[in-house]
């Protein structure tokens, strides 16, 4: 297949390679089916972005694109890159504005039949109790600066201390809900200001809380270990670090823009501003980014707790009967120091995952004991009408993608086009016909987020399943959604 003047090599049915040329230090690799790759090439400049990322100093093995790859700022969304810890760089463009945007999934002990009649009331109450949409302010009072510092340092533990959730939720959160190297002192005043009143808010755009029913099981034994069964109700939450994360990214794009010049790096895109990981600028970004990641975990922890309370109150059910428990929480936008095998040696690298999910295999020390035999849960949300997936990480992921996989469906249509398509239609009724009860701040958001605006996430998940990178365990069908 051709991209501009470049011949893209087929490695196998679900993997294509761009040979290193020009200023590329490593080849680019894209996980996609042939038809998917054709669409990717036709749609946007994400292939060029894979090529650009391959030019970052210290990049190891490959510049990777997941099957849900699409154009992003600097890195593509669905981009993965590991840089050498000693000689490599870190780039905010490899993380994105919404630092630690991620997903968590909680199971319940109730089935669809048990709650079907109460869905309108449940969704209405969730919408009332969980702050959503633009300008939404937190369920938690506006925090003072000292409390914000504690939150940014302690991550999800802070939320548990405040009574939002159970201690064991920490076990089922990537990195236990806290990056230890977070340093609030390098977070700018403006970022703190933007985050102070947004703890426990869902935000707008593609963020959501979804009530799903398990409608397919692909791997029964693994599903049992995850506590999943057919017709069971589960709850998925998708949000990130809100204004705090956006501001940190913006602040450091400027600082690292100067650092790029200072250290004499030539980069093909201003949004790929970077600094040596070991430089003061690089370390400061890493520490500030970690603080934003901790904020995001607090955010998802608080929202999950609000959702749990709402379920209990609406369904008049005791905590022991509801058993609203966290299955797992994954990051989609993050840079972390990890160890990976490169050229037969274990090496420490800075792993950038932007619109990609960690997918560690069975017997890995970083995943909870409960999942030790099956691998890390990977949560891949689709659109709000069709389905989402629960998958598991594999040894192949460690060998091929630095333990990374896809993160979602990706947009098919621009927001403007989606809104135009929705004109004159009763979108709420259409969603109801699909069996989805929906509440949102505005009709415009619903129009932008209609299923037809997104690609089919099943095709994305299948590529990674067939490539052996992450295995499908269960499919989730939305029956209720709240959006900003």
């Amino acid at each position: 297949m051709q991209y501009k003047n470049i011949k893209i090599e087929k490695i196998h049915d679900n993997l294509y390679q761009i040979p290193a040329f020009g200023d590329m230090h490593v080849p680019g690799r894209i996980y996609a089916s042939e038809s998917m790759l054709k669409s990717i090439i036709a749609e946007d400049e994400s292939i060029q972005q894979v090529i650009n990322v391959a030019q970052l100093p210290g990049i190891q093995k490959y510049s990777l694109g997941m099957p849900d790859i699409h154009w992003g700022y600097g890195f593509p969304i669905g981009g993965v890159a590991a840089t050498d810890l000693q000689d490599g760089v870190i780039s905010p463009g490899g993380v994105g504005y919404d630092i630690n945007c991620g997903v968590r999934l909680a199971r319940t002990a109730v089935t669809k039949d048990q709650i079907q009649s109460q869905m309108p009331k449940l969704i209405s109450n969730l919408f009332r109790n969980i702050p959503t949409g633009v300008g939404s302010e937190g369920a938690i009072r506006k925090l003072n600066e000292k409390e914000m510092q504690r939150l940014l340092k302690n991550g999800a533990n802070w939320a548990i201390e405040q009574g939002y959730g159970e201690t064991e939720d920490i076990l089922y959160t990537e990195e236990n809900g806290k990056l230890d190297w977070a340093d609030p002192s390098v977070v700018g005043h403006r970022a703190i200001e933007r985050g102070r009143s947004q703890v426990g808010t869902l935000g707008s755009g593609n963020h959501f809380l979804e009530v799903d029913v398990i409608d397919r099981i692909f791997l029964p034994q693994e599903a049992e270990i995850l506590g999943l069964y057919l017709n069971q109700i589960v709850v998925m939450i998708h949000t990130g670090s809100r204004g705090l994360g956006y501001q940190i990214c913006d602040d450091f794009l400027k600082i690292l823009g100067k650092a790029t010049l200072k250290y004499g790096f030539t980069i093909p895109d201003r949004q790929l501003a970077c600094a040596p990981i070991q430089s003061q600028e690089g370390q400061d970004y890493l520490s500030a980014m970690a603080a934003a990641a901790n904020f995001a975990w607090v955010n998802r922890q608080v929202i999950m707790s609000l959702a749990k309370d709402t379920f209990q109150q609406t369904l008049s059910i005791s905590p022991s009967d509801l058993r609203f428990e966290l299955i797992y929480d994954v990051c989609h936008n993050i840079a972390k120091i990890e160890e990976h095998e490169i050229d037969g040696q274990i090496k420490q690298v800075c792993l950038h995952r932007k619109g990609a999910t960690r997918a560690f295999p069975p017997h890995n020390r970083f995943i909870p004991e409960k999942y030790y035999q099956i691998g890390q849960p990977v949560l891949v949300p689709g659109d709000m009408g069709r389905y989402s997936f629960v998958c598991l990480g594999t040894a192949e992921a460690m060998a091929q993608t630095f333990g990374s996989t896809c993160h979602g469906a990706g947009r098919l249509q621009s927001r403007k086009k989606a809104k135009k398509m929705g004109m004159g239609r009763d979108l709420f009724a259409e969603m109801a016909r699909m069996g989805v009860e929906i509440q949102a701040k505005g009709r415009a958001t619903v129009a932008e987020e209609m299923p037809y605006a997104y690609k089919d996430v099943a095709a994305v998940v299948d590529v990674m399943d067939h490539a052996g990178i992450s295995k499908k365990v269960a499919r989730l069908k939305p029956i209720g959604v709240i959006k900003g």
């Binding site: 300008g135 403006r190 755009g205």
Partner: protein, 147 residues
């Protein structure tokens, strides 16, 4: 005084995000119209009262950097200080070899009063495909927002 004129900017379609294309007879007018274009993306065409004022003074190394900073500042005022612009007075943009500066008096109202009109939230103003162009006596800029 610069006031909102929807003929001076337009929305650019983009798969995941959104952008504007703005024009002006001077750099000052261009900066004003970019600010109104950003407001249009967030709120649509609304009329905002003049009840509060904010003074902005910013300098940066290039016009591109200054434009991003100017719009980010206005977005920050909206997000954190509950300030929504109505019109812009005493706007000057000065360009030198190594530094560009913008100075303005913003007039506006409490953003919370207009919450029901708000369509989206801008995460940040980006450098992606940021363009400045001068043809004849007109100035143009293109800006993409992460939403």
């Amino acid at each position: 005084m610069y006031v909102n004129d929807p003929k001076k900017y337009c929305e650019i379609d983009h798969t995941a995000d959104v952008g504007i294309y703005a024009q002006g007879d001077s750099y000052a007018e261009l900066f004003a119209n970019a600010a109104f274009g950003m407001r249009h993306i967030i709120y649509g065409n609304i009329t905002v009262a003049k009840k509060r004022t904010k003074t902005i003074k910013l300098c940066d190394s290039t016009l591109s950097e200054l434009m991003v900073r100017w719009l980010n500042e206005i977005n920050f005022l909206l997000d954190v200080k509950d300030f929504l612009i109505s019109c812009i007075g005493d706007l000057t943009v000065k360009t030198k070899e190594d530094q560009c500066c913008v100075k303005a008096e913003l007039y506006g109202d409490n953003a919370s009063q207009y919450r029901s009109f708000q369509k989206l939230e801008i995460k940040a103003v980006t450098y992606h495909k940021l363009q400045f162009k001068k043809t004849d006596s007109k100035y143009y800029t293109q800006i993409i927002f992460d939403i």
